[in-house]
């Protein structure tokens, strides 16, 4: 049984924003509900008002325009996983979406919820950080756009304000020749919380060298982290097994520094090597081959 609250189902963005601006007392935005409803059931949250975004159909769309991908906050994990244009360079998003929960959670849970929850283990966050995504936050009479990395404050905290609604995530389209991957390590193969995850984007140049590398790790810090040392190391070089080892070591060293002495550190310091290795090979099979 959930504790009672007032429920609102605005039929337009304006109405939603005006409710957010005017409703008194604690309020929560309801998107997919897969995290909010259990929190209500456990009594961890007891908002006076729940504002449902159900009717805001425009937030359910994925659009590609002017070189940027716009993903509405209500886009579900299933939608992301099934979105055909994400089969190519952007497949890290589809792969990450497919690793979330099980089919039921994926039909319901949304990208907006995943971002605003800001769990260190949020599956979509490393891909979005690697994609250098921004988030749009709207309020009555205004909006702001923030880089995701800046928006996330770590351990479930973000810089969203009480009256704001996150409406979309936006990122630049990757070049056509780019390849990407997402790898998640959980205790089991579905309905698992990520223990370590990694998103990798590699942009090859004309001669087969790596022109650009972007790596983002999840669940090793209060929020997803990029690995600049490993990215720099990969840049301008050709993927092969020895470069892989260098990169994996660079990732592991960065993680060791991030983890400090938390209880999971001894495990994660080592295990991240396996995750990084798999992610890099998935993004560029040449890493795995003896050339």
């Amino acid at each position: 049984m959930l504790q009672p609250f007032n429920y609102h189902q605005p039929s337009s963005m304006e109405e939603a924003l005006s409710l957010m601006a005017t409703l008194p007392g604690p309020k929560k935005v309801l998107a997919g509900g897969t995290d909010l409803v259990p929190a209500l059931r456990r009594g961890e949250l007891s908002p006076a008002h729940v504002v449902s975004l159900k009717q805001l159909a425009e937030m359910r769309e994925i659009k590609i325009k002017e070189g940027r991908v716009h993903i509405g906050a209500l886009v579900t994990f299933s939608q992301l996983a099934e979105f055909r244009p994400f089969r190519g360079p952007h497949n890290l998003l589809a792969e990450a979406a497919l690793q979330v929960g099980g089919p039921q959670i994926r039909s319901q849970g949304t990208i907006g919820g995943n971002i605003v929850n800001a769990s260190p283990a949020g599956d979509l966050l490393p891909p979005l950080v690697a994609l250098e995504a921004e988030v749009r936050l709207c309020r009555a009479g205004g909006e702001r756009v923030l880089p995701l990395d800046e928006f996330l404050k770590g351990l479930g905290r973000t810089c969203i304000e009480q009256e704001e609604i996150l409406t979309e995530a936006v990122f630049p389209v990757l070049p056509g020749q780019a390849a990407s991957s997402f790898v998640k390590l959980g205790r089991r193969n579905s309905l698992a919380i990520s223990r370590i995850s990694m998103a990798a984007i590699l942009v090859p140049g004309a001669t087969g060298i790596i022109e650009e590398a972007r790596l983002a790790l999840g669940a090793v810090a209060p929020k997803p982290v990029r690995v600049p040392r490993a990215e720099a190391l990969l840049k301008g070089r050709r993927p092969d097994p020895s470069l892989l080892e260098e990169a994996v070591t660079a990732v592991a060293e960065t993680v060791a520094a991030t983890l400090g002495d938390r209880p999971s550190a001894p495990y994660k310091k080592v295990a991240v090597r396996g995750v990084a290795r798999e992610a890099l090979i998935k993004a560029a099979p040449q890493f795995g081959c003896k050339l």
């Binding site: 193969n189 698992a192 919380i193 001894p266 495990y267 080592v270 396996g274």
Partner: protein, 335 residues
């Protein structure tokens, strides 16, 4: 790096409670139209006992299973069958139902013997007919039932069975179970030496169940047991702090799910138990028992490092691998 390993686990398991009486009773009504009602206290909790008991009654009375209705686990109408535990219900309640069926059948066969001028011991029931010396006769069960009723004879049965056991004395001597089931499982696993993750690839599970009354149901028990055993070996642990459970939710107490399932090859071995109903023993618990042992041995085979505490988690594996070489991986000492 991924390393494969193979491990073996064996077990035996006494069917029924340990060294103490644990009877089960059953009532059976062979009704006028030849259909059968079985009343049993045996709780079917999903393992399929009601189906197996229906098969046993049908088998003894020579009717179709569709003609048997089992009313189970209602103390208002059914006799005590003891607990659904100790892998005992097929063997013990199975025998109780068999005996109840036999008692009802004896009335019927005696009547049939009179009609046919034959010895009751030469007769049996099959497909709704009376058979004599292996040959079908035109006499139907329904006709015999009608003849019984005409004389005021009811075809009811009651049966109870208590496995023959003795208690254990203070040095443990005794025969605590009437029969034992046996099993051997072979596990093939793969360990990722970087993440410590163990994947069970294949399990071969050979179980001596005496006789499989319902083979598919036996396989179902074995497969389910194997998966529970995988959870025991690798995943599951109730976390306690000062008597308080820290992970009382499915989100925190993880069970294996469909994507974690290996190939499971169940092999049913039948070494009939002469005191069992149609030779049957039990399988419910044996299904789970050797799995963790086999997996632990497979992990040791893969890594050359043995684990002495369950569950074998990725953390323990990586810790042990990093300690390997400093003598932590001991082999058997030879004296």
């Amino acid at each position: 790096m991924k390393k494969r390993g193979i491990g073996v686990g064996c077990m035996f398991y006494g069917i029924g409670n340990t060294g103490m009486p644990n009877p089960a009773g059953a009532f059976l009504d062979l009704t006028d139209d030849g259909t059968v009602l079985v009343l049993t206290g045996c709780a079917d909790i999903g393992q399929g006992s009601s189906t197996v008991l229906a098969q046993i009654a049908a088998g003894e009375l020579g009717v179709n299973i569709e003609d048997v209705l089992v009313v189970a686990g209602d103390t208002g109408v059914s006799p005590d069958a003891g607990a659904t535990s100790a892998s005992r219900q097929t063997y013990i309640s199975g025998n109780a139902v068999l005996l109840a069926a036999r008692q009802a059948k004896e009335v019927l066969l005696e009547e049939a013997a009179g009609i046919m001028a034959a010895a009751a011991s030469d007769l049996c029931l099959r497909d709704g007919h009376v058979w004599r010396a292996g040959e079908k006769t035109p006499l139907t069960v329904k006709e015999v039932l009608a003849a019984c009723r005409k004389k005021g004879k009811l075809t009811l049965g009651s049966g109870w069975f208590n496995p023959e056991t003795t208690g254990m004395d203070e040095t443990g001597r005794g025969a605590p179970y009437a029969t034992y089931s046996y099993a051997t499982q072979v596990a093939e696993i793969e360990v990722d030496t970087e993440t410590g993750k163990v994947s069970v690839l294949r399990l071969v599970a050979a179980h001596d169940v005496g006789r499989a009354i319902n083979p598919k149901s036996v396989e179902g028990q074995i497969e389910g047991g194997c998966l529970m055993g995988i959870g025991y070996a690798l995943l599951e642990e109730v976390k306690l702090t000062e008597g308080r459970i820290g992970n009382p939710r499915y989100a925190e107490y993880l069970l294996p799910m469909s994507l974690d399932v290996p190939e499971i090859h169940a092999i049913i071995v039948e070494e009939p138990e002469i005191t069992g109903p149609f030779g049957a023993k039990g399988v419910g618990e044996p299904a789970l028992i050797p799995t963790a042992a086999a997996i632990a041995n497979a992990v040791a085979d893969a890594l050359g490092v043995r684990f002495y505490d369950l569950p074998i988690t990725p953390e323990k594996i990586l810790a042990a691998l990093s300690a390997k070489g400093d003598g932590s991986a001991r082999m058997g000492e030879i004296t």
